[in-house]
Amino acid sequence: MTLDFPWARCIPTLTAVLKLRGVHKSYETVKALDGVDLDVDQGEIVALLGPNGAGKSTLVSVIAGLCKPDRGEVRLNGIDIRANPGLARRQLGLSPQETGIYPILSVRDNLRFFGELAGLRKRDLERRIEEVAAAFSLRGLLDRQGRKLSGGEARRLHTAMIALQRPPLLLLDEVTAGVDVQSRKQLLDLVGSLAGRGSAVLYSTHYLHEIEALGAQRVAILLEGRVVTAGSIPDLVGAFGGSFVELRFDRRPAGLDLPAGTVNVGENVLRVPAEDSAAVTAAGLVGRLDSSGATLREIKLLQPSLESVFLSVTAGTANGGPP
């Protein structure tokens, strides 16, 4: 990885590249964002996590200037996106959830276009294309048409198109969706490298394990349009990460006395919060199953983790299951 971010050298201290304050957005009667507050600092990766419909994509759209917030403040490098949308857009690079490339153009021309839009010209542009192509393993594919790329290659190009611009803020929405394990690891490594070079990264994902693999400094959990909690993974696990016992039956159990906070997470699957250790709770539950009329098919002990944090935080919502 040989990417360099000259603007990063001009920023002497850690500063909020993205600053959101009280951001609201509604669609007709649906509140998509209900007062979102969030900062992302230079060189920091913040993972945006939330169940379906929590407002993640709306938040990304608002930051990218694709839709206007009803209320609140969105600042990119201190620039208000409403007061100066053009200058604000120049601070960010958006990699949307769905792959967006020009399929009938070559990889080189796809990269060239976004480089030209970012103001790169001639030799600088060609040099940057070569650098990014090398970093994203696209060098041998530069003259191949976009439609002839594999899913993973297209996804790498999709993300490379913004890495080429070297923006202060990278907005990455599900960048690994639909790619194989190898490409996923490669993309996550590249995102980490981009942050290491000074970009602030807001990384929206459904995959909990990616957040740890990515080395995100902070996780923000979005629920019903609000950031309900944000912090480092150890801090969140310490605060919310209880253990759970997950029980799968052959039919719905009847007459079973279950602790408060138990949720149904699938057909005949119950997730029970552990009061002390997951193993002790599991043993107690198994001893009371005889009268339920259902046969236990599987039992899982869920230790404190980002997943258990997520489950605790989202428990009781319509989308309370894992995303």
């Binding site: 990218a64 690079g93 769905e98 153009l105 021309d109 976004f114 030209e116 839009l117």
Partner: protein
Amino acid sequence: MSLGRVAAIARQDLRILRTDLMAIVPLIVLPLVVMPFLRPAFRAAFHFGGLHNATGAEQVVPGMAVTFGFFLVMNTSSSFFREHMWRTWDRLRASAAGPAEILLGKMVTPLVEFTVQFVLLFGLAGLLMDLHVRGSWLELCAVGCAFAVFLVATGVAVTAVCRTYMQATATVTAGALVMAGFAGALVPFALLPPWAQAISPLVPSYWAMQGYKHAIFGGKPVVLPVLALLGFSLLSALVAAARFRFEDQKLGPT
């Protein structure tokens, strides 16, 4: 406003056009193919009407330029719809390019296409079909410029109004044929029924045909047709300004 970004968007559309030249077949190749078949019939019609010096090219060349010129409306509109189809529209909107830069950039390639069509149709007709411009080439170009502006502005308006590519295609195809009919582009204006002749001035294509014919036959100024075309362009621009929403999600070709 950055001319560099406008140029970048225009270059990207030109790259796409270069990769898939089928987009200009209806605009340029079809009229060149059709003209030789129709010219003898128009020459006979002119002779029957007493214009013994006419070659038929005076009708068939502007007629085909106007009829097939409407594909430029579709090409303009397609350049927006395909961004939606390829999921690049939001990326473009989130880029450094502002709304005005995107719109202007997307108008350049259709204008280049029109210029190629104009030069090839009128140039080749002058060389191969005995098209004699008795008026002024400058006036002919002025009419062409005004017509091109109208077509591109209408392309943006059609994009603004239509939600799907199919809606746009149907609108443009139907509009092109109806307007060509009223304009006297398919048959000489004098042969149209009186009711159609009465309606014709309300149709932009009529003014394009009148302007081209005035410039070709000479003797009549093209000021009025040019102004009329610019007036219709303004109407299309107003529709586009009122209805174009950058945040609208369009459905491209399926």
